[in-house]
């Protein structure tokens, strides 16, 4: 039996805005096994980032966790005090943000920001911390670390900035890394470099990782298992191969169809009709039913539970077993 490092149960994070209550995350459950990479996939606004921010309890106001459990190493983080959470953040669970251009403070040198984080969790001298920071820079493969460390963020390129952000996240050797679309704002070539780096680092440091993305290509490359989110709820969870070759949720299938592929040689890029629903007044029943081509009348009435249809494969669709969906990648042998 694999050990679970993180277990999320029925997490609900709502935003209390003037316009109404935005149910950004509305009953999300998933687990992360020790040493694995869990990919979280979904469109913009599906609640991926809010889920990740909820895990370390830094959801910006007016957002609030209203319900659910976040069990990290047997302790429920939802019940922890702010002071104890500060000891967990950065040390046990680290976070990498989407846009390196905005996630580094523009007015402090990189040395300043790195040393600060190192000293926060480790009892060492300033000089040792600086040496450690340079060491971290070598780890994330930044050339000339002794010089680069005295730069301000705006003096580095996008890829370098993201390496620096990764270095900051790794400063205290976290056990769990939350990577929130860390490659989305980078050039494709840089994207590949950063992905490779993250894979290597994960192996080297023996971390677990949650990798959030909307890019099916990226998640196929990096994740061991995948959780698909839609409108604040989990649609499907399975290992990567199953998600790609044997999806059981119509939304997962639609996502796969929308991936541009050289193998499928489609003329036109497929799209999922409609857009992600308003989360102040989400659709009744299954939230995907207004856009689902297999939707029945009862799909609008009954909320589907997340059911394990085969070991390790959970689906939230009322018609999961009867539909017999085919993956658009169906006949292709896996590489």
């Amino acid at each position: 039996m694999v050990k679970k490092i993180l277990k999320i149960e029925q997490l609900k994070t709502y935003f209390y805005t003037w316009a109404g209550i935005v149910k950004a995350v509305d009953g999300v459950s998933f687990e992360v096994n020790e040493g694995e990479t869990l990919g979280i996939v979904g469109e913009s606004g599906s609640g991926k980032s809010v889920t990740a921010l909820s895990i370390i309890r830094i959801v910006p106001s007016p957002g609030k966790i209203v319900e659910g459990k976040i069990i990290y190493k047997g302790e429920n983080l939802v019940e922890k005090k702010e002071k104890d959470l500060q000891d967990i953040r950065g040390k046990e669970i680290a976070y990498i943000f989407q846009d390196p251009a905005t996630s580094l403070n523009p007015v402090f040198t990189i040395a300043n920001q790195l040393v600060e984080v190192i000293l926060r969790h480790q009892k060492i001298s300033k000089k040792e911390a600086l040496e450690k920071a340079i060491e971290l820079f070598r780890l994330v493969e930044i050339p000339d670390p002794e010089i680069k460390i005295w730069n301000y963020p705006h003096q580095l390129s996008g890829g370098m900035k993201q390496r620096m952000a990764i270095a900051r996240a790794l400063a205290s050797q976290p056990n769990l890394l939350l990577a929130d679309e860390p490659t989305t704002n980078l050039d494709v070539t840089i994207q590949a470099q950063i992905l490779k780096l993250m894979k290597n680092l994960k192996k080297k440091l023996g971390m677990s990782m949650i990798f959030i993305t909307h890019d099916m290509g990226v998640v196929a490359d990096i994740a061991d298992r995948i959780t698909v989110l839609y409108a604040g709820r989990v649609c499907e969870t399975a290992d990567t191969k199953t998600i790609f070759y044997n999806p059981k949720h119509p939304y997962t299938q639609a996502l796969l169809t929308a991936v541009p592929s050289l193998i499928l040689k489609t003329e036109k890029l497929a799209v999922i009709p409609g857009s992600i629903p308003n989360l102040i007044k989400p659709p009744t029943g299954c939230r995907f039913h207004p856009r689902c081509e297999y939707a029945q009348k009862y799909c609008a009435e009954k909320i589907p539970d997340l059911i394990e249809i085969e070991p390790g494969h959970k689906v939230a669709c009322l018609r999961a077993t009867e539909l017999n969906l085919k993956s658009p990648l169906g006949g292709i042998k896996n590489k």
Partner: protein, 326 residues
């Protein structure tokens, strides 16, 4: 850096000359100081008047007057007052009066910053709370009510009705029946300073609170604040190190503008509080058409404004490295 400063200083020369010309012409066409001086004297002869005009150099054409003034200015000579103490040197005069002005303005600015920065931050952190609404409403009032009105009300309440503080002035004029407050000169000045400093502090503080609050709200939304929290940094470090430094730029601008215009804004404040500073001197000089004093204070105001603008620009580069002074 030093090249930048030199270049900036060179740019100031035409600006400075332009300001001098405008004020010089404006004062000379605003009235006849000799008529004003002699108006109450029915026995004055035309000849005596003409002597006075010649004595002050007012018989020369305007451009000649200006060049004489300019050549004197380059020698550090701001001329002599027409009326004060038999033609006192303007430099001496300003030297005597600038102390109280700086005392009042600098202490008010200091208090304002000490109070406004934390208040603005707390207000931003507790946005829309009762505290925040109280703070913003009070600050808006402080921004809207002119200093002279606030000053008069404060003098009326605390100086007149309650009698806790003197109604004006810098220091008690000691006589046989009246001594210093608590028998000590420093205490006496502090006692006199209380109402003006409190009113001015409030007037300066109000817009700074609003500035800090709004720029804090903007900064707190940024990813790097979230990232700082995600690194486990304490709320105090996140707010006072990471957020405040970024939120300070508009405040620096405001403080720079305020200090630059400190003397220009002083006339009203100092008149209300009967404060013996440069501002009140300026008002008196204007009323008497005392040209050299008006020009002298203008020169000082201009230099201060330009100087503080330069300081402000240099401070930007220090606070935010992305703003390069080059």
């Amino acid at each position: 850096m030093s090249r930048y400063i030199i270049r900036r200083l060179l740019y100031l020369i035409p600006l400075f000359l332009g300001i001098l010309i405008i004020v010089f012409v404006a004062t000379r066409i605003s009235g006849d100081p000799v008529r004003l001086m002699t108006g109450l004297n029915p026995h004055i002869t035309e000849e005596a008047k003409n002597n006075l005009i010649r004595y002050y150099g007012l018989d020369q054409p305007l451009y000649a007057q200006f060049f004489i003034y300019l050549s004197q200015l380059f020698q550090g000579n701001l001329g002599n007052s027409y009326v004060i103490r038999g033609g006192l040197e303007v430099t001496t005069l300003i030297g005597d009066y600038i102390g109280p002005t700086i005392l009042l303005q600098a202490s008010s600015m200091l208090f304002a910053l000490i109070i406004a920065i934390p208040v603005g931050i707390i207000s931003a952190k507790k946005r829309y709370s009762k505290l925040d609404v109280t703070v913003t409403t009070t600050s808006l009032l402080g921004t809207c009510i002119p200093v002279f009105y606030m000053g008069i009300i404060a003098i009326l309440i605390f100086g007149y009705f309650l009698g806790w503080f003197p109604a004006g002035g810098l220091i008690t004029q000691i006589s046989e029946t009246r001594g210093y407050f608590l028998g000590n000169q420093t205490m006496d000045i502090l006692w006199h300073m209380t109402i003006p400093t409190a009113v001015l502090t409030f007037a300066i503080l109000a817009p700074i609170v609003l500035l800090i609050r709004s720029s804090m709200l903007e900064v707190l939304k940024q990813d790097y604040i979230l990232a700082a929290r995600a690194s486990g940094l304490s709320e105090r470090v996140v707010i006072y190190k990471h957020a405040l430094r970024n939120a300070l730029i508009p405040v620096v601008t405001w403080v720079g503008i305020y200090f630059g215009g400190m003397l220009a804004g002083a006339p009203i404040t100092e008149t209300v509080f009967n404060w013996p500073g440069v501002g009140r001197l300026f008002v008196q000089a204007t009323n008497r058409l005392d040209f050299p004093v008006i020009m002298g204070i203008t020169v000082i105001i201009t230099i201060m404004t330009l100087f503080f603008n330069l300081i402000t620009d240099l401070t930007y580069g220090y606070i935010d490295p992305r703003i390069s002074v080059e």
